[in-house]
């Protein structure tokens, strides 16, 4: 299979998956009881029967659900029109966009830190196999896996706020709300410490494990033996030959983990009242704000699918074996 056919297949798969997400979103929205007109104008707005009928026609709700209404809805979504939030009374798309940056900042930092730490600790654990360090690393990964994200957040929140005096929630202190984030960096950093730490601990274990098994596999290859035979020092072997090859699985794992990352963001933003998409999702859930919930789901799901596809492209670019085929 050439690289082009491989990517084409991945592209078709991504498109089909996005379509499935669109269908799920549409179907769930339609099985909700009550009048869809309410979904647009809000639940408690008083409106006459005639006006309601006029709205039904205007939004095409008198037409058959499939295909007319479905295609209509798709067109709306494609134009970025995700409806109006019931609780916030603002367009859903606008609300989502205002929170996206905060979430990307949090999960970006968490992923970056856990990848860097995970790669080095995993490398070391694999290299020093069956030593105390290796056993400790394995135990840590196991316990991190078995710990619920939100509970780890709660513990760090309790410990960090009472012992270190770190802020308990939000993205900046109340007096700095509304100012551009780059003007209040020290305050922002203090608020980011605990949520980022939670995310890092959470992902660290997995990256460490992947890196460890990857390096063990690479170290058993013939070219490592050759490098050693040439008289290279262990560090040179590790740095010049092993690390580069062992890094490949990390790319795939980062992509595969994106869904997991999104889950982590929902829990952690809830615990730390961090003003991002995850917290928004939880608020929409509690307030039963369906347009907001559906919009947030659409955005999260489609981003993860697209990111997975991008990771596939990156992988084929990085791995010469895929290129050669």
């Amino acid at each position: 299979m050439s690289r082009r056919t491989y990517l084409l297949r991945k592209l078709i798969f991504a498109l089909v998956t996005i379509f499935v997400v669109l269908v799920i979103n549409f179907v769930l929205f339609r099985v909700l009881p009550g009048d869809p007109v309410r979904a647009v104008i809000g639940r408690n707005v008083k409106i006459s029967a005639e006006a309601q009928q006029a709205l039904r026609q205007q939004f095409g709700l008198d037409k058959p659900i499939f295909p007319d209404q479905f295609l209509d809805t798709l067109r709306q979504w494609a134009q970025g029109n995700l409806g109006i939030s019931w609780s916030l009374r603002r367009p859903v798309a606008e609300i989502l966009m205002s929170k996206l940056g905060n979430t990307l900042l949090l999960i970006g930092l968490g992923q970056l830190l856990s990848i860097i730490l995970g790669v080095f600790l995993g490398l070391f654990a694999g290299w020093k196999r069956k030593t105390v360090f290796d056993v400790a690393a394995l135990t840590f990964s196991l316990i991190a896996w078995a710990t619920p994200t939100f509970w780890l957040g709660i513990i760090l929140l309790a410990a960090g706020s009472s012992w270190l005096g770190l802020p308990t929630g939000g993205i900046v202190s109340p007096e700095n709300v509304g100012k551009p984030l780059y003007t209040v960096l020290p305050d922002l950093a203090r608020h980011l410490v605990l949520p980022t730490l939670t995310l890092t601990i959470l992902y660290l274990g997995e990256y460490m494990l992947i890196m460890r098994s990857s390096i063990l596999e690479v170290l058993s290859e013939d070219y490592i033996l050759t490098a050693k035979a040439k008289g290279m020092s262990p560090w040179q072997v590790l740095w010049r030959h092993a690390l580069k090859n062992a890094m490949l699985p990390i790319v795939t794992i980062v992509a595969l983990n994106l869904g997991f990352t999104v889950s982590g963001a929902i829990y952690i933003e809830t615990v730390f009242s961090y003003d991002g998409l995850g917290k928004l999702f939880q608020t929409a859930l509690v307030k039963q704000d369906y347009p907001l919930l559906q919009g947030a789901f659409l955005l999260l799901a489609v981003s993860v699918i697209v990111a997975n596809f991008l990771a596939d492209i990156l992988y084929t670019a990085l791995d010469p074996r895929v290129k050669a085929n």
């Binding site: 099985v31 909700l32 196991l142 078995a146 619920p148 308990t168 869904g259 889950s263």
Partner: protein, 319 residues
């Protein structure tokens, strides 16, 4: 019938002989079993009803009382005994996890067998559905599903909704695992022989493939159980549990919502989380060891020259 029971018994004894020397496996089994026993004997472990409000001498509810003032684990925001909540919560957490895990295991095994055994378009279809499910972020999907199901006012318990949603979404890893095993089993000679003497598909699957798969499915179910319990705790923490039948996740939801952290009530938010780690760690340890021990059985069959059906002591793979 009698003979197969004898064989089963012998296999079990043989299994135990190897298993009891495996430290990880024994720790895992201890963690899981102790939680199950606590859940079963909850009424004997606490003198109170879970919803009872503990009162002081003046008749006022004893809220956020530390362990030094009341019971082994103090009281919660409403004055209820935390230890009692914890042991009764074990019932809910384990039950939801078990039932969800069984649904996932059943769907996963069924689809895995169908895909692996029949191949062709059935295989393609099932595997594509699995791929799609793996890419869609699971927590947002579950939250949207649960929210919709609740809004539909179906008059079913929130716990049943949780069980169904977790069970119906977490079968993908089982399906993949079972499929790959079926692919290798169906190439074996004994399947070809059964087919040659005219055995039907159902007979071959039931009599020749399923028995070979069983150990793997058991090990996988234990692993799925840990996922199901973790997911249940998360969904309940986000407020999707049943407040009248609190699981460990629901307890943490209460603790967080009612400011146990700012009140310094560590006895309210630490124990439920530790309990979740206790059980999920137990499942992971036990599941991994079972998988390691039981899997080699799939590499040989008693009709294929090598008569070894059971794991034998002293072999590297089982150590």
């Amino acid at each position: 019938m009698r003979e197969s029971w004898l064989l089963f018994w012998r296999n079990l004894r043989e299994f135990w002989r190897v298993f009891r020397h495996n430290r990880m496996g024994m720790i895992g089994a201890f963690l899981l079993l102790s939680a199950v026993l606590i859940a079963l004997f909850a009424p004997f472990l606490s003198p109170y009803e879970p919803s009872l409000v503990i009162r002081d001498a003046t008749g006022r509810g004893l809220t956020f009382a530390p362990p030094a003032v009341h019971g082994p684990l103090g009281t919660d925001d409403a004055g209820r005994d935390v230890w009692t909540q914890l042991v009764y919560g074990a019932r809910i957490s384990l039950l939801v996890g078990l039932l969800a895990g069984f649904i996932a295991m059943f769907i996963g095994s069924l689809l895995g067998i169908l895909a692996g055994y029949f191949g062709g378009w059935i295989d393609t279809l099932i595997m594509r559905v699995t791929d799609v499910l793996l890419v869609i972020p699971d927590l947002p999907l579950m939250l949207v599903l649960v929210a919709t199901l609740r809004q539909m006012e179906l008059k079913i318990s929130p716990l049943v909704v949780l069980i169904l949603v977790i069970g119906l979404l977490y079968w993908t890893s089982t399906a993949r695992l079972v499929r790959s095993q079926v692919l290798s089993i169906k190439e074996r000679q004994f399947v070809a022989r059964a087919r040659a003497i005219g055995a039907g598909h159902f007979h071959i699957i039931r009599r020749h493939i399923l028995p070979q798969l069983m150990p793997l499915i058991v090990a996988n179910t234990v692993l799925i159980l840990s996922t199901a319990i973790l997911i249940e705790s998360g969904l309940s923490f986000l407020g999707l549990g049943d407040p009248t039948q609190p699981s460990w996740g629901t307890m943490l939801n209460f603790a967080f919502d009612r400011n146990a952290i700012s009140n310094g009530a560590w006895w309210f938010y630490l124990p439920p989380g530790l309990a979740i780690v206790w059980v999920s760690l137990g499942c992971v340890l036990l599941g991994n060891v079972l998988e390691e021990m039981l899997n080699p059985r799939l590499t040989a069959h008693h009709l294929e020259g090598d008569v070894r059906v059971r794991p034998l002591e002293g072999e590297g793979a089982y150590g």
